[in-house]
């Protein structure tokens, strides 16, 4: 039987992963301060973004996502491996993005990706110390957008 401590750790880490999506989708960038460690490493390059430390990535997010009038980041399949005061997790994300077209109107593209995360237990609770995106499927991407084609097949 799992201990109450393990159940609690798993629930807190799941909530952190959901809070990331909700902060991004509500464009509440300061909400991310409660998700990441101050020096967390974040890598969005597989889907055409940047990589770097949290302060730099936080500053990049607002302008980068301002181009998209509607989007959401539905997460699931959260698999967590706990190890004392650290943890790793793999999470699937289905990401519909409403993309304005150069000729007017917009087109919803659907991106599939995984988040490969590391976590650390801090005095203020669990925080994400690393998040690396791994691409999966891309559907209905407008021709004018340059998103790198995902690598074939997934890696564990």
């Amino acid at each position: 039987m799992l201990s109450l401590q393990e159940l609690s750790d798993r629930l807190e880490i799941e909530q952190l992963i959901v809070r990331y999506s909700n902060s991004i989708d509500q464009r509440n960038w300061d909400g991310l301060d409660e998700v990441f460690t101050p020096d967390a490493y974040i890598d969005y390059r597989q889907l055409g973004g940047i990589d770097g430390r949290y302060p730099e990535v936080k500053a990049w997010l607002g302008p980068a996502l301002a181009n998209f009038p509607h989007y959401c980041h539905l997460v699931g399949n959260i698999e967590i491996a706990l190890s004392g005061d650290t943890a790793r997790a793999r999470t699937l994300c289905i990401n519909p993005m409403d993309t304005p077209l150069p000729g007017g109107g917009s087109q919803v593209m659907f991106l599939g990706l995984w988040y490969v995360d590391r976590f650390v237990r801090t005095a203020r609770g669990w925080r994400m110390s690393e998040r690396v995106e791994e691409g999966c499927f891309q559907h209905n991407v407008p021709a004018h957008l340059a998103i790198p084609a995902p690598k074939t097949g997934a890696t564990a």
């Binding site: 039987m1 799992l2 109450l4 159940l7 798993r10 539905l74 699931g76 399949n77 959260i78 698999e79 793999r90 699937l92 289905i94 659907f110 599939g112 995984w114 999966c136 499927f137 891309q138 559907h139 995902p150 074939t152 097949g153 997934a154 890696t155 564990a156």
Partner: protein
Amino acid sequence: MTALEEFSDRLEIRRLIVRYSNALDARRFEWLEELFTPDAYIDYRATGGVDGRYPAIREWLPPAVGVFPHMCHLVGNISITVAGDGAQARTLCLNPVAVPLVAGGTQVMFLGMWYRDTLVRTEAGWRISRRVQEGCFQHNVPAQLQIPVAPDF
């Protein structure tokens, strides 16, 4: 209040269901050994696959999904009923699959299905002893593929 043991059982069963998706999507088929009982019955016929016992399905899977360069199996709506050392679960799966086209390029199809599972508590933990797919919607399926249409509700 729900007892700690029931929380534990439910979480372990959810982990099994998620681990199955991750095993397929990461193409780590060896992970399946720790998910199914050795004689589990598996039925993929609702989405055009086969049915049979676990060892035969384990052989069938890698080449069957190997033709698809990208896929994922997002599970949710996991409804679990635990009764002692047995359990039943019903899970919704949203399954985008990139299909290579005969004419070149790929097309992403979207399949919706449910997994109807029977689980059993073993000495090594919970295992799936029966998994039957039940088809839901199909969207953007290439004409070259033969997937049975789900019966109307």
